[in-house]
């Protein structure tokens, strides 16, 4: 019998609406109310300034190692803005702007990267999961949340994020498969910033795009310009509407570039050229969106300045608050490391808690001794 072509109905499109020179495709331009546009820009700016401030703090020894998110604001905000308050947001760790938009206090995020797990507790009014370090492992969680939504007949959606590196992990594929089989209302957003620490996209996969994997998992897939917040917005809006209407998951790939090192402990000079980074820096999302807003008359240069000042103030206030909280008794309480491992503390752990209590006493005694010595020293 002659070979037959199996008709797999799917094409993968590339969507770009607002280019790097702020030219907008009028036919594709979404109709976003001015207030929402301003809000989008505000949170993108907040994410960026917060990220920059955190980098300064890290270099001053005031913050631990952390992954920088500068440049990823369009993917994060363009997508998250489509969520209702009671939808779920399941991040990896470069979605700072989106998390702030969702209501995570800036100081909580600063505290987290300063070594306090307390920063992972989602705020009370927020249906979000915390930052997830092991790559792609949050994707099955997102799918499970979606499966529970179906079971409870909720009309909510889950939006979840992962990178080009994470797209190679088994959990990514298992999650996409499960989501497809169970029609889970999950919008998968891939931040393809072309580097997994030092490993470039060409070594991460032999496919041209992450989006085309959607075909393998029988879900709609699309690649967008990840620096174009309008394209991200449109693609994820469609995906969210599909999910809410019961059509199941989608895969959206935002092609962008990691302008910064992977984390503050990484040195990109070892694996890529500054010339390449400089080229991509010209395409970053804030510049073109600010121009667009001005061209559209939504914001003036003065408005933008005011917003800068407002954001700057928000970040400053949060940094001060975080540094205060980091010295507070509540957060420095050593027993927080052991009191939440189980709902009810088992006997064997209670015994270890007693050991910890002894350690704490010794530490306090040493501190007192040291203070007493320095007092005597000061007096003499």
């Amino acid at each position: 019998m002659p070979r037959k072509v199996l008709e797999i109905e799917q094409k993968i499109e590339y969507l770009s609406i607002l280019d790097e020179n702020a030219n907008v495709d009028k036919e594709l331009e979404p109709d976003i109310p001015a207030e929402q546009l301003k809000s989008m820009y505000k949170y993108m700016l907040l994410g960026r300034r917060c990220d920059e401030r955190m980098l300064k703090m890290q270099r001053q020894g005031r913050l631990g190692t952390f992954p920088q998110s500068a440049g990823h604001e369009a993917i994060s905000i363009g997508s998250a803005i489509n969520l209702h308050q009671d939808d779920w947001h399941v991040p990896a760790y470069r979605e700072l702007a989106g998390m702030l938009y969702r209501g995570w206090p800036i100081e909580n995020i600063i505290l987290y990267w300063n070594g306090f797990e307390e920063g992972t507790a989602p705020p009370e009014h927020v249906n979000d999961l915390p930052i997830c370090v092991p790559l792609a492992t949050q994707l099955p969680h997102a799918v499970g949340i979606g499966m529970a939504m179906n079971y409870k007949k909720e009309k909510n959606v889950v939006m979840t994020y992962f990178g080009d590196g994470a797209s190679s992990e088994g959990d990514c594929h298992e999650a996409l498969n499960f989501a497809s089989v169970f029609k889970a209302p999950v919008v998968f957003v891939c931040l393809n910033n072309q580097y997994a620490i030092s490993v470039p996209l060409s070594r991460q996969m032999s496919c041209e795009t992450v989006a085309q994997r959607a075909i393998a998992y029988n879900m709609p897939g699309i690649r967008v310009d990840g620096n174009d917040v309008l394209a991200v917005y449109v693609a994820t809006k469609e995906a969210v509407e599909r999910a809410r209407a019961g059509y199941g998951p989608s895969l959206i790939e935002g092609l962008t570039y990691r302008l910064t090192p992977h984390t503050t402990a990484d040195d990109p000079k070892k694996y890529r050229s500054e010339a390449e980074t400089d080229e991509w820096a010209k395409k970053e999302p804030l510049i073109r969106f600010a121009k667009y807003l001005q061209n559209k008359g939504v914001m003036t240069a003065e408005d933008l300045e005011k917003m800068e000042a407002e954001v700057d103030n928000m970040v400053k206030t949060a940094v001060t608050k975080a540094e205060e909280m980091a010295k507070s008794e509540e957060l420095l309480n050593p027993f927080t490391i052991i009191d939440h491992v189980y709902a009810d503390m088992p006997q064997f752990l209670q015994e270890q808690r007693d050991e910890l209590a002894e350690l704490v006493k010794r530490e306090a005694a040493r501190k007192e001794k040291k203070n007493a010595k320095s007092e005597t020293g000061a007096r003499s």
Binding site: W88, E117, E118, T120, A121, P122, L129, P130, P134, T137, L139, P140, H141, A142, V143, G144, I145, G146, M147, A148, M149, Y151, K152, G170, D171, E174, A175, N177, F178, V181, F182, T336, H340, V341, Y342, A343, P346, Q347, F348, L349
Partner: protein, 325 residues
């Protein structure tokens, strides 16, 4: 009261749990239409439908990962891994997430799920189908590890596991699934997690075991009665959090202990028990504590499995050496 075997008892518990709580769902490979490769989930699919008895694709990490997500969004999933040899595929989800969500979010998020799996050897199964790695789970903070030994405690403990607000690894000794029957009350009952049972009292020696190996311990105790030796036999039931108080109380009485488990010896549960007896009852010991365990080898494929699994003869020899020290 009905006399049923462990497989039926676990099945009964699942029926009861799903009847009384809408949030409980069962998920795993072949659990629905096929009713489970050991028939443990028999009748559930027909009664509750595919919304609540979910045949999943063949992907253990996703089975556990989605169960975690479902737990976060208000449900109580009972996720089956078909054999403990395959939970390694899902291990990172158990270790990195199921066990940690409560701690890292300081209680804001918790994971009330159960992972249940047929575990251990003794049924001439295929390679990788007879694993006993409970030690890995015991070593992971934030998990509870429950291993029943008979129909009645299996039913009661599964209820407690499902009701527990924290993740429970519920390991079912498959060698015991259809090995014997026991009277099980009609009325639903629970057993507290973290409590061992003294199943036979004695003055001369403390035998500590759990799961399928308990039967070897009990058989050995019976054999030794002919020689006038009265062994006290403790069934751990919960391997973690371990009820070491019951063990210590017994060792303070007898002065001698032998631990029996089919998991490998190196850093196995026996090692932990000895450490705790050392910490709490050292001066009461008349002899070093002995362990009768699987060898530190992969459990052999069934032609030579009997050289690995603890049996009553090995237990009696260890007991007599302890008594003659």
């Amino acid at each position: 009261m009905a006399e049923i075997n462990m497989a039926k008892a676990i099945n009964l518990a699942l029926h009861e749990a799903m009847d009384r709580d809408d949030r409980v769902v069962v998920m795993g490979e072949d659990v629905g239409q096929d009713e489970g490769v050991f028939r443990i989930t028999e009748g559930l699919f027909a009664k509750f439908g595919d919304d609540r008895v979910i045949d999943t694709p063949l992907a253990e990490a996703a089975i556990i990962g989605t169960a975690i997500g479902m737990s976060i969004n208000g449900m109580k999933p009972v996720a089956e891994i078909q054999f403990t040899g395959f939970d390694y595929y899902a291990f990172h989800q158990i270790e990195s997430h199921a066990s940690r969500f409560r701690n890292r979010t300081r209680g804001r998020i918790h994971i009330p799920m159960v992972m249940r799996a047929p575990y251990g050897g003794g049924i001439r199964a295929l390679e990788h189908h007879s694993e006993s790695r409970e030690t890995y789970y015991v070593h992971t903070p934030g998990l509870k590890v429950v291993i029943p030994s008979g129909p009645r405690n299996a039913r009661a403990l599964l209820h407690s596991s499902i009701q527990d607000p924290d993740p429970v690894i519920y390991l079912e000794p498959k060698a015991c699934y259809r090995l014997f029957r026991e009277e099980v009350p009609d009325k639903m009952e629970t057993l507290p997690i973290g409590q061992a049972q003294v199943v036979k009292e004695g003055e001369d020696l403390t035998l500590i075991s759990y799961g399928a190996s308990l039967r070897a311990a009990l058989e050995a105790a019976e054999d030794m009665e002919d020689d006038g030796i009265q062994a006290e036999v403790i069934d751990l039931l919960t391997v973690s959090p371990m009820d070491h108080k019951t063990i210590i109380k017994s060792v303070m009485k007898t002065g001698r202990a032998v631990i029996v488990h089919e998991g490998q010896r190196n850093c196995g549960i026996g090692a932990e028990i000895i450490a705790r007896i050392n910490e709490h009852a050292f001066l009461y010991l008349e002899a070093p504590i002995k362990r009768v365990t699987g060898l530190d080898i992969p459990i052999p494929y069934f032609s030579k499995e009997r050289y690995y699994l603890p049996d009553a003869e090995r237990v009696v020899i260890a007991c007599k050496e302890t008594l003659n020290f």
